[in-house]
Symmetry: C2
Subunit: 513 residues, 2 copies
């Protein structure tokens, strides 16, 4: 590991060097399923009605430089985060407090909470919960000490994506190094021991397998299966498929894909609350679902019909282990992150008894303020309405799913456009100011080069009992499950590769400079 | 293994069954690199100028039924074929006789021979030769005994393709079985033990690695590398890439891709006859080439310029181990197959001393006649000019590369269009009449169903010395290297998946019925 000057990385390439690098990226990616279905702007549905075309997933040509200390900090803290969020998800009373602040302004949270209440009335049939989490960070320079650390951007408790592709992109960058696709001028930086292979595919699949196994024997007599609840169509299907293939090959566990809108057509809940799935391709075959892995259901867009909320109740009341449960999904709302990260908040210690662990987690929070009537909220409103002060902040909706953040000087004018009673639907977060970086991104066949921002996502697997025999919850499995580096242009201030704003990347570790 | 009635296989699918099967084929194929670059009729160069799109390789949805005895016969005979063709390639005098019959009518053979003569004048610098062969068969019913056997269609000594994809398609069919994508009505036929995994990727790569290793130490002091000589552009690039990746991962051997037309730009032969390759992407780096793997150079189309023949001489005179050498390439011309398969030919025994081995090879020949002035040739001319008799034959040019065969009743009229002196450029071969089969092929997003013909290709690796210290040749390595099943519609009478006339397939073994 060496510290490296930004201006040298990535190096400028001769046309021949770029051709060699690109050719190898294009071929390796397709040969190994580092792919997405093309956007409709690239390939229209009329041209490829049956959807057989694929293209290289948006990727960086080079692994981005990433401080080793920050990488290790992120991976090292993940099991503490798993513990924290599983504890939150078990604490219905606490979540109720959060939800009550949001119900009037956020239909989606309100509807999720109603699902929980309806199921609670009947009583939950399954005590185990599974989380396949991803905690996202940026590197931040401490203004006083100038030391580098990670600051959390968000914590995902549902549909944490790109684990399947992250393992592929880190393998690809290692391959490119092995075949000398990186110029020799980078040899002091891009070294095999500096490139970290992400184990996310295998590790997340093992998480699903752990739940599948912990579910126990079939009660219905039907064979057991995992069910992936998905959007349809899904451009990022290979990311999900790699988990399915790993689950089958490494753990011999069957899985099916259920488009969320077909939930009530293809599944039933029997008298014993078993979730039974009948594949449309085989109407005479039934599976008992052990584990429900949601890659859909995280946004209001997935619930356009009243029937979709019936489907959520239907799934939640079943005996299948949910990944995530409604309460776990609610634990991931930004309001929770804000409440935990509000300076001097007592909440973190409620969930993490170990003071040392709690302080390590606290170090990764960016200060977050509510926009409510509390003391901190009133202070935040002042900051948010003043263009100069607002320049250090980002305004985020409490809802899941990126795409609606308001940045810096735009915050005051935005707040002017919405009624003040709706302000508590947003939180104000101090901007993380990451060190400048450069990279080149391949997307839809075009190479874009320039300043980038990298976001480290650390996956975590956690399987827990909500109420053990002794009353309290019990963590059954808890591990760090690999990482994703997601890199976007520093002009765009939105993340989310699938939405078209970034690329999957891997870490080339460097010493702090 | 069970014998199965044709009319039941493959089963008709409900729309839901077909959707499940197709979705899984489309996703698995891209996730695992069972892919090709799309044809320009499907995706134009203007739409995708940098060539990032890919599509599922033409594949069969079901593994085709194949008699187990024939499968085992084909794989079992491969090392004998390797021995045969390496012996032919070592027998310059015998090849001269073949070539002399062709030079006046086949420029390509003539030009290849000239390359050999020019290198021979100087003396060959490399005694080792590598063959990555593929022997292609169809199943044939013996008209007398009604027993099934294989009949050879052709023997490929250069650029034997689809090894990389064959391993993938057999894995895919096994996966489809594992996830119940085949209806339960097929469960007595499609069973795990009946589906044969092709080991071609790994086994062919091991062949290249064996040559790479047998080459010995670098004489030039430069690092060693294998060189894939390729066409450019190449739609079937992933087939080749899988060999490169396997070579690197399993044998730690570097390889590069050299578009054939760049041979004289990117390679030099030094005073010691070492073949030195300088990647355009790294002009200050040089590799000594151990093994030259030709995936181009098999057809006149690859040699449009006089310079291309200079390039062949340049490569052939180098110390690199050729896969194949010019003499090995010539050994694969159809005239050789014809001479060996002419009834009562003495030639087979010249090359295979063991009578038992020779007779096993002989069993796989379809009777082949010359169209020359010999006794057999005059007999064949009579057959070929008579429509009824011709109906049992195919007329094939001696040249490599399919696409110009004349079938059955069309033979007499075709012969009328060319001067009689040119007839010896063709051979007449008894048609193989394979048992009728059905399957469904996915190509460019369309599913075509119907009668098909399957062609079993068996790969072989053979590394030999042309003249050992004791004078005679010596076989250093000789193994059977997996298989390909290539399936085409029985309406089309041309093979060759890349050219658009077939699909890659795998064998579902059944008892002879």
């Amino acid at each position: 590991m060496t510290s490296v000057s930004l201006s040298d990385y990535p190096p400028d390439l001769s046309p021949e060097e770029e051709h060699y690098l690109l050719t190898n990226v294009k071929d390796w990616s397709i040969a190994h399923g580092l792919a997405v279905r093309p956007a409709s702007a690239f390939v229209s549905g009329e041209q490829d009605p049956s959807g057989v075309l694929a293209t290289t997933a948006p990727v960086t040509l080079f692994p981005s430089l990433f401080p080793q200390s920050c990488f290790e900090q992120g991976l090292g803290i993940q099991t503490a985060y798993n513990e924290l969020y599983s504890a939150i998800a078990r604490d219905e009373e606490w979540i109720r407090g959060i939800v009550e602040e949001l119900v009037e302004i956020d239909d989606f949270v309100e509807n999720l909470w109603k699902v929980h209440l309806e199921v609670k009335k009947e009583g939950y049939a399954q005590d185990l919960s599974l989380g396949l989490f991803r905690s996202d960070y940026m590197v931040h320079t401490n203004p006083e000490t100038k030391s580098l650390g990670i600051r959390q951007v968000e914590f995902n408790t549902i549909a944490s994506s790109f684990g399947g592709l992250s393992s592929k992109v880190s393998a690809m960058h290692r391959h490119l190094l092995a075949i000398d696709a990186y110029p020799s001028s980078t040899s002091s930086v891009i070294q095999a021991e500096a490139l970290r292979q992400s184990k996310a595919t295998s590790s997340l699949a093992k998480g699903l397998a752990a739940a599948h196994s912990a579910y126990g024997k079939s009660r219905s007599g039907f064979p057991l299966s995992v069910l992936f609840v998905v959007q349809d169509p899904e451009r990022n299907v290979f990311d999900q498929r790699h988990l399915q293939y790993s689950l089958l090959e490494e753990s011999n566990a069957r899985s099916f894909r259920l488009p969320f809108h077909r939930t009530l057509l293809d599944t039933t809940v029997d008298a014993d609350r078993n979730l039974l799935y009948t594949p449309p391709s085989s109407p005479s075959t039934t599976y008992e679902v052990t584990t429900l892995y949601l890659r859909a259901g995280y946004s209001p867009d997935d619930h356009p019909r009243a029937e979709d909320w019936k489907a959520r109740v239907h799934l939640e009341r079943s005996r299948a282990i949910k990944c995530p449960s409604i309460l776990t999904q609610l634990a991931g709302c930004k309001k929770v992150q804000q409440v935990l990260a509000t300076p001097h908040s007592p909440h973190l210690r409620r969930f993490l008894a170990d003071e040392h662990v709690a302080s390590r987690v606290l170090e990764t929070f960016a200060p977050i303020y509510p926009l409510d009537e509390s003391k901190a909220g009133r202070e935040a409103r002042k900051l948010a309405r003043h263009p100069d002060a607002a320049a250090r902040y980002v305004l985020k909706p409490q809802r899941e799913g990126g795409g609606n953040n308001i940045y810096r000087q735009k915050i005051p004018e935005f707040l002017d456009t919405i009624p003040q009673k709706n302000w508590p639907a947003y939180i104000l977060m101090e901007m993380i100011e990451p060190p400048p970086l450069r990279n080149a991104i391949l997307r839809n066949g075009e190479v874009q080069k320039g300043g980038v921002i990298g976001e480290l996502g650390v996956y975590g697997v956690c399987l827990w009992r909500n109420e053990s025999g002794e009353g309290a919850g019990e963590i059954v499995e808890n591990w760090e499950a690999g990482y994703l580096l997601r890199t976007k242009g520093d002009q765009s201030e939105e993340g989310g590769v699938a939405a078209g704003f970034g690329a999957v990347d891997s870490c080339c570790l460097v010493g702090d400079s």
